[in-house]
Symmetry: C2
Subunit: 682 residues, 2 copies
């Protein structure tokens, strides 16, 4: 439907009251401010004067023009944001969406923690049910006193893929603290599922999609105590009591939802599995998970034992797990056991069937990242100053040729390091995590050196003396954790930019209290040397891992077909059209069907008796983009956000007496303040 | 204590394990990237080439250099952020802190809604108790079934003032939905108090500090049903059943906390009080509150009545409330009644004592804003295209000369409009809210025209034909609600910038789903004409009102004195030093005193029995800025954030059996992942 500027601004199209509208400026949308547009290029005297007054040297002026997105820039403009970052929010429990190169925060998506602005978990049926379903108190340790889980520690977003490229449909993200995973639908940028994964009490960076999103993978981090009733002696019997699990959650291609019944796990030794990545192209069908604490240290620092930071760092090597999931698929069902509703391939079976192998990794490593071509696998040494690069061709050959050094304590064969290592580059102190560009280079974060190191891999990308070399190193500010290169996880990285996800900002930003923001530094990859462009403070959350996707791959909706329930993405059975409003009492239940539009709720007077169960079905009947309305009931902890076309149901018991002025929370129109009603509870 | 870069990066100063550290680059902090620094000014060929490739015309290049803050800019640098915005977060329930001119989001402060990244309301004693105390279920309608309030609709931040200028100590903010107010301490940017204000079921923009923060003011919005048990007939007896309240909350100058016992209210007619402002200088001692819906319309759109948007817009005039609080102070105690623990000056007494007057305002107005000089008071017509400017000198004279047109239905004298109006400027459609610059001009937002109008006031600022004139008008994108000029609420506005707080972004940003961000547009006030510089998407929340403060007025802490509890800002009685760790069992209570540092919790093994009450006292013994640690207990919904020096206590019942790997959530060191322990519940 075509909408004129006048309609958008005044709401006239939605049947608002006969408000006089004048003064429409008669210019096209977005074109009022001279944004973008070619023609007059070059730098004016005014810009020079400003740069001088603001003490911006030529290097900084160049940074400014490299990153500036003009007001009113349109998608596809040369000066518009070209990429989006989907960033974990850490223990904020959310996802942050950031534009590149402007580094503007476009959206915070509520995932594991309720978030009232977007009506996530404050009374609307769809999000309330998602959050509620996210705690499996039957099969997993859960505290009734502390209640169902209302936060998560998001670490690793995994965008859905098709043929190994991002396809912009869904994004998955784990909850490190509680062993859970969520799915966000990129049609409307809302969370549609939170799954409390059986047999996982934690998870870390072991989250990724297989190249056609057949599965989304998540593994344990701290291993799981298999029998929670055996907690008392658990640490003394660690080796026997704990296990890890590599989990393959089957994805419904239409909805993006994960289906437990079609999922499976491979049981792993109780090492602390850490990061993971999917094989691609030549390594498709395999996954790689690194780990640390193969020592299985568990602390005891008050009673004469070593703290875990010492105990877990003792050995020179830990283990990369190499898992053949295509083989595992064939074995599940016939050779799996069922634990807490999940089909699990036992550790012994995984060994016997050639599903699981180990390879040594130096030393408390962090990060396992598969090169776009599929053959090279980079592991950051963390406590070793090298990036160790494995070749999948070598791994395959070593497995076939049984080139094992020995078995681990659980009978899992350990490949000889020399047989599987393709190369090694000394990069600096504290190497953690690798991403790749469009020229075959890897970029690894160095936490202790506070830098990014750029390195080459082997043939066919780089030959002879050019292979496995450190080619550039860039100081960052400060103490980088992970990094993200644009589409750097996929079979076709875009290069151009990298973002250093720095953990310590120290003195980079104004002081805003004792809790400092993280620092995302945008880095230009297009020059001879890497170059920092800007510092972006992260105002909420502590991101860990980020994925960068081309903006044009995202095809988000601006409105819903009228009456859509976001959870089903279908018409809600209780959605109504204009004039369908009614109030119906059945015993002590009062059910209301309400339309929402500029600028009234209809009905706007609702009377109930104290103790009544109240069910309100709301339909936002707007069709105009941005015509979101809120619905809030004071004192009842209810705030629902209704986007154009959205339908939602709120159910509550009217146990508090009084007159409650429910109102529209999202500024919608000139008469937004008057968009209010009364709920009378007597 | 002096801290070297090596110490900051490696944690060596905090007694971490004997980790080898090398490769420190030997440069000073922050100076590695060529940020800032004078010398070579002017624009280089490289910048020109980039501008051309990115299609940035000279106007946009100028915008870029006007707003760019280089990586590593230090506070006080000419190119650093000069101001902070403290923005309401709307129904996110939070406060956003944004730097100007970079428009970067520096921090989201958790206020009314729990926020786990900063450990707000997830198990730490200080924030849990603040949130818990924020619902007065005894004196105010409260739903036991829906639980204590865990969200708020923040509209109006009010920075503390001394002699009418911002002093950077505290910021107060209201909760529109539930009639509450919170206080954030600007030493550590944390919420220290949430007060459920007696007799308020809602509040809107009636929040401000008196010029020396003697009081923070908050008024009703939707009027309060005085007796909640009379809900059934409330709308039919509106005039008698509902009242408004102008509330003066006494502020403790040392802590910033609001003290109910020394506070008072002035009872008002049940008009919908809206925005408010404090008198200053010549008008100090008075407050001004505007209102709409003097018609007292209450809807009934399903039963043949008029919707409120029509009913509330019928009259040509509504009423500005003019309140003499200095007079009220003298009358409280002797002539007030106590309602729900609050001393209230009844409406009749307020009239009799000359505390309350009304003045007509056209027409469903929005916004009452006192000019820096104290005399002029601007009111936006909203449904009338004028800004009406009152003179306090005229108001005073009219009161003294009893120039009343009549009384309202409640006996409150209404001043004659002609006697109190100093001037009027036709500005355009939908005028809402005014701020001022350093030259005496007012800037008013025009919602329907989607513009900002700049106007002059009267003498002595502007004389003759220059007085009360529209001097400039700037289109904004789109549908602006409020605006903020730097220090524009105070006796000494700074001018320079204005930010248009636009409600509809429509096509200004990439599509990130059906819920679109708001658009904050930075406007340059220093030229002949106002000019838009950038669009900033608001990724979380729906801001309403914002205050802009000079960055150098904020003197926030980077660390706490070791052992500080944020709630008391004093040493926590259970804080300990290194080597003070212990575990103590008394019956079925286990109490633990724990130190937290890079990179261990000590003790790291805690064993309890199922059903035990567990009390953990944590002290972050770090002294280095940015050395924040998290403390999270999986499955128990606990996440505590501990800044350097901070002490906190977590109490819970260990009702779930198992082995729980508690860990540090905030990336702190090379061995952050190993900073973990085990809680065994058997």
């Amino acid at each position: 439907m075509s909408v004129t500027r006048r309609e958008l601004i005044t709401g006239a199209a939605a049947g608002a009251t006969g408000l006089v509208v004048g003064g429409v400026l008669g210019k096209t949308l977005g074109g009022d401010d001279g944004g973008g547009g070619g023609g007059d290029s070059g730098l004016s005297g005014q810009a020079e004067a400003v740069a001088k007054a603001r003490d911006l040297n030529s290097e900084n002026v160049t940074r400014a023009v490299k990153t500036f997105v003009p007001p009113g820039a349109k998608p596809g403009d040369k000066n518009a944001d070209e990429f989006f970052l989907f960033s974990s929010g850490g223990h904020s429990g959310q996802i942050l969406v950031i534009g590149v190169p402007s580094m503007r925060l476009l959206k915070v998506i509520g995932v594991f923690a309720p978030e009232p602005w977007q009506g996530h978990g404050y009374g609307a049926d769809s999000s309330d049910s998602v959050i509620k379903a996210g705690t499996d108190s039957k099969n997993k340790p859960s505290s009734a006193a502390r209640g169902p889980l209302t936060w998560g520690d998001t670490h690793h977003p995994a965008l859905s893929e098709t043929k190994g490229e991002y396809d912009g449909r869904f994004v998955y993200i784990n909850d490190r603290a509680n062993g859970r995973i969520a799915m966000v639908d990129l049609r409307d940028f809302k969370t549609k599922q939170i799954l409390d994964v059986p047999n996982l009490d934690s998870s870390h960076g072991g989250v990724f999609c297989t190249p056609n999103t057949e599965y989304v993978h998540i593994s344990t981090m701290s291993p799981t105590l298999v029998d929670p009733s055996k907690a008392e002696k658990a640490l003394e019997t660690f080796k026997d009591s704990f296990r890890g699990y590599s989990t393959f959650l089957k994805v419904d291609q239409k909805t993006g939802k994960m289906d437990l019944a079609q999922s499976f796990q491979v049981e792993l030794p109780p090492y602390t599995q850490d990061l993971a990545d999917s094989g691609k192209l030549s390594s498709e069908g395999w996954v790689f998970i690194n780990s640390y604490n193969s020592e299985m240290a568990s602390g005891g620092n008050l009673t004469g034992g070593k703290p875990i930071e010492v105990g877990a760092s003792a050995n020179d090597f830990d283990y990369m797990h190499i898992i053949n999931w295509k083989k595992a698929e064939t074995v599940v069902g016939s050779k799996s056991k069922v634990m807490n509703g999940m089909r699990v391939i036992p550790l012994e079976t995984a060994v016997a069937e050639g599903i699981l192998y180990l390879a040594p990794e130096p030393k408390s490593p962090h990060g396992v990242d598969v090169h776009p071509g599929g053959n090279y696998i980079s592991v950051g040494g963390k406590l070793d100053p090298h990036v160790t690069i494995y070749g999948f061709d070598k791994i395959k050959a070593a497995i076939d040729g049984k080139q094992f050094e020995k078995n681990d304590p659980f009978g899992v064969p350990i490949l000889k390091l020399d047989a599987v290592r393709a190369g090694s580059v000394e990069v600096g102190l504290g190497p953690l995590h690798t991403q790749y560009d469009d020229k075959g280079y890897g970029y690894i974060s160095l936490f202790l050196d506070s830098a990014v190191a750029k390195f080459s891999v082997g043939e066919p990308y780089f030959k002879g003396a050019d292979a496995f070399k450190l080619v550039d190193k860039l100081p960052v500010h400060y103490n980088i954790g992970h990094l993200v290169a644009m589409e750097g996880d996929t079979v076709k990285p875009a290069g151009k930019y990298l973002v250093a996800l720095n953990k310590w900002s120290i003195d980079r930003f104004p002081v805003v209290g004792t809790l400092k923001p993280q620092n995302f530094q945008l880095v230009d990859l297009t020059g001879e040397k890497m170059e920092i462009l800007t510092d972006m403070p992260i105002g909420i959350g502590e991101p860990h891992y980020v994925q960068g996707i081309r903006a044009d791959r995202i095809k988000a909706w601006e409105v819903y077909p009228v009456g859509t329930n976001p959870l089903t993405m279908e018409k809600d059975p209780n959605a109504i059209a204009d004039k369908g409003e009614k109030i119906q009492r059945t015993g002590s239940t009062v059910e209301i069907w309400s339309t929402v539009r500029r600028s009234q709720f209809k009905p706007d007077n609702i009377s109930v008796k104290q103790g009544d169960k109240v069910i309100i079905h709301l339909t936002n009947i707007e069709t105009t983009p941005d015509a979101t309305h809120g619905f809030s009931i004071p004192r009842y902890n209810v705030n629902v956000s209704l986007d154009p076309g959205e339908a939602a149901t709120v159910e509550f018991t009217a146990d508090a007496k009084g007159a409650f002025a429910f109102y529209c929370t999202e500024f919608c129109s000139a008469l937004h303040l008057e968009m209010q009603g009364w709920l009378l509870v007597s």
